[in-house]
C-alpha cells in the first residue's frame, strides 16, 4: 500500500510539472498575462479628478467639496455630518479628510484618494500599492471571509475572478472619526459591506471599478457608484504623508496628523 501511495505522489508531481511546463492553468487560479485565463489588471493606474461618493457634489469648484446632505440615501445622523463637512469647506476651511491627515483611506474611500495605484496579481493574492502615503491593500483570492473578524481600517477583502472582472468583497471595516466613506465626509458603521468589480475598459487604457455598497447603519438603501483610473507608463513614486502634508500646521481644521502615542516597545 505504501508503494502504491508513493506511486500516486510521483505520478501526481509529474502531472503537476507537465501542467506547469505546458503553461496549462486552472481557470481562476492564475496570473498576469494574456496567455492565462484570468484578466490582466496589473500595472500602474492613476486616479482622475472625478468625485466619487454616496451623494453628488454641490460645489462648482474642483477644490471645494460640498456633498448633497439632503440626498435621501443618508440617514439623519450621516446627513448632519455631511452638512458639517460641506459648511467647513464652503467657509474656506479645509474639512478633515484622509489625504490631509495621513490616516488610512479605508474601503471604498481609498479609491477616491487622488493617487496612483500599482496593482500586483499572484494566484493567491491581489495587492494594491498606493503612491499616496504608501498605503497597501491586500485581497486574498479564492477563500471565504474569516470567522470572528477583528474590524480594521481596510477590513478583510476576499476576491475571485468572474470572466474579465476581479470581484472583491470587503467587510470588517472599523469606525473612527477619520474612517470616512468618501470625500464628502460621509461616515459609515461596522455594518458597511462593499463589493468592488475591477475590470479594464477602453482597450486597456482605463481601469474601471464598479462598487456596490450597503450599510444599514448609515444609508437608507444599497446603492452603486464607480471610479475610473487611467493606465500610466511611469513608475511608482515615494510620497510620505508624514512630512509632505501641506495643511499640517497651517489649518488645524484638517485635524492632527497621527503621531505615535505609544512609545515603540523596541
Amino acid at each position: 500500500m505504501r508503494r502504491i501511495s508513493s506511486l500516486f505522489v510521483v505520478l501526481g508531481l509529474s502531472l503537476c510539472s507537465f501542467a506547469a511546463a505546458s503553461g496549462a492553468q486552472a481557470p481562476g487560479s492564475g496570473p498576469t498575462t494574456a496567455k492565462f485565463s484570468t484578466p490582466n489588471l496589473s500595472g500602474v493606474w492613476t486616479r482622475n479628478l472625478q468625485r466619487m461618493g454616496a451623494v453628488k457634489n454641490l460645489s462648482p469648484r474642483t477644490d471645494v467639496v460640498i456633498g448633497d446632505w439632503q440626498d435621501p440615501v443618508l440617514q439623519p445622523w450621516a446627513a448632519a455630518l455631511v452638512r458639517r463637512h460641506g459648511d467647513l469647506e464652503a467657509s474656506g476651511l479645509a474639512a478633515p479628510e484622509t489625504k490631509q491627515t495621513c490616516w488610512p483611506g479605508g474601503v471604498p474611500n481609498m479609491l477616491s484618494v487622488p493617487s496612483s495605484i500599482e496593482l500586483l496579481q499572484t494566484p493567491t493574492q491581489v495587492t494594491l500599492l498606493y503612491t499616496n502615503d504608501h498605503q497597501v491593500r491586500t485581497i486574498y483570492m479564492n477563500q471565504p471571509h474569516s470567522k470572528n473578524l477583528k474590524p480594521s481600517w481596510y477590513g478583510e477583502s476576499v476576491g475571485h475572478y468572474e470572466g474579465d472582472t476581479l470581484v472583491v468583497d470587503t467587510v470588517g471595516l472599523h469606525t473612527h472619526p477619520m474612517s470616512l466613506f468618501d470625500v464628502f465626509g460621509t461616515p459609515h458603521t461596522e455594518k458597511l459591506h462593499v463589493v468592488e468589480r475591477f475590470h479594464v475598459v477602453d482597450g486597456g487604457k482605463t481601469l474601471r471599478v464598479d462598487i456596490d455598497v450597503e450599510d444599514p447603519g448609515t444609508f437608507t438603501k444599497p446603492f452603486s457608484m464607480n471610479a475610473r483610473f487611467g493606465k500610466v507608463n511611469y513608475g511608482f513614486e515615494e510620497y510620505v504623508c508624514a512630512e509632505n502634508n501641506p495643511l499640517i500646521g497651517i489649518d488645524k481644521t484638517a485635524g492632527d496628523m497621527p503621531r505615535e502615542k505609544y512609545k515603540p516597545p523596541f
Binding site: I4, F8, V9, L11, G12, L13, L15, C16, A19, A20, Q25, S29, G30, P31, T32, T33, S42, C102, W103, P104, E118, L120, Q121, T122, P123, T124, Q125, T127, L129, H134, Q135, V136, T138, Y140, S152, W153, Y154, G235, F236, E237, E238, V240, A242, E243, M257, P258, R259, E260, K261, Y262, P264, P265, F266
Partner: protein, 243 residues
C-alpha cells in the same frame, strides 16, 4: 482498487502539489521563490557587523554619530521614523521586529513591511541608474534594482535622501550611501538570509557587512499599521522590551 479511485488520487495529489507551488508566487515571475511572509525572531537597535567590531567611522562619521546619540538622548534630535512614522529607509528597515511580505511578479520583486506599511520595489528588468541620475529624486528608501545569481537575489540600492539613520542608535549616512543585499532561502527554505553590505565614504572608511535572518511564517497576514494606534504584540521577538 477501483481505477477511478486511482486516477482520482493521482489528480488530487497533482492538484495539491501544484497548489503548494502556486501558493508561493506568480508562475510568470522569474528566479527562485523567496515569496511569502517573513519575520525576524530577534531585534537589535544597533547594527551588528559580521565578525564583530565597531562601525568603521571616518572622523566626520564619528562626529555625526556622537551628535545623533546625544541628541536622541536629550531630545534635541527627533527619531521621526518612530515619532511621526516617516520611513525607516534602508538598511534600517531590515532591522524591523514586525513581519514583512515578499511578492514576486514579472519584472519586479516587491517587499511590503508591516511596520509603517513601507514598500520597496526592486526593478528586475535593468541595472540601477548611475548616481547622477538617482540624485535627481532622492528617496527615503532609495531606488532598487535586482538580479538573480543562482539561488540568491542581489539587490542594489542607492539614491537616498539624508533623513534616515542606519540604525536606532543614530548611525549616520550621507546621500552617497550604497547598499547591496544578498537574499536567499536557508535551512531548507524555512529561513531567509539577507547579507547586507553598506558603503558610504563620507561616514565610513570601508564597506561593512551585517546579516539578518528571518523565519518563514505562511500563517501570518500583514496587519494595518497606523501611526498613533497600538500595534501587533511583538514581545516574542528577542531584544524587544515588550509593553
Amino acid at each position: 482498487m477501483p481505477k477511478r479511485f486511482v486516477a482520482g488520487a493521482i489528480v488530487f495529489v497533482a492538484a495539491l502539489a501544484c497548489s503548494v507551488a502556486d501558493a508561493q508566487k506568480a508562475p510568470d515571475s522569474e528566479g527562485p521563490d523567496i515569496s511569502g511572509v517573513w519575520w525576524a525572531s530577534s531585534y537589535s537597535p544597533k547594527i551588528q557587523i559580521m565578525g564583530g567590531g565597531e562601525l568603521p567611522f571616518t572622523p566626520a562619521g564619528r562626529g555625526q554619530y556622537e551628535k545623533n546619540m546625544a541628541g536622541l538622548k536629550n531630545g534635541t534630535v527627533e527619531d521621526t521614523a518612530r515619532t511621526l512614522c516617516t520611513p525607516d529607509g534602508v538598511p534600517r528597515l531590515l532591522e524591523t521586529p514586525y513581519p514583512f511580505q515578499i511578492i514576486q511578479t514579472k519584472g519586479q520583486v516587491t517587499i511590503i513591511y508591516e511596520m509603517n506599511h513601507a514598500i520597496r520595489l526592486v526593478d528586475m528588468t535593468k541595472p540601477l541608474d548611475n548616481d547622477e541620475t538617482l540624485s535627481i529624486l532622492p528617496y527615503y528608501g532609495g531606488h532598487s534594482a535586482g538580479h538573480w545569481e543562482r539561488d540568491t537575489l542581489i539587490v542594489q540600492t542607492a539614491g537616498f535622501n539624508e533623513k534616515t539613520f542606519i540604525d536606532a542608535y543614530g548611525s549616520p549616512h550621507s546621500d552617497q550611501l550604497h547598499v547591496t543585499e544578498r537574499l536567499r532561502r536557508i535551512n531548507g527554505g524555512k529561513q531567509l538570509e539577507d547579507v547586507v553590505t553598506i558603503e558610504d565614504p563620507v561616514n565610513y572608511t570601508r564597506p561593512f557587512t551585517a546579516r539578518f535572518v528571518y523565519d518563514f511564517h505562511p500563517e501570518v497576514r500583514l496587519e494595518a499599521y497606523v501611526c498613533g494606534e497600538p500595534h501587533r504584540d511583538i514581545s516574542k521577538v528577542r531584544g524587544v522590551k515588550g509593553f
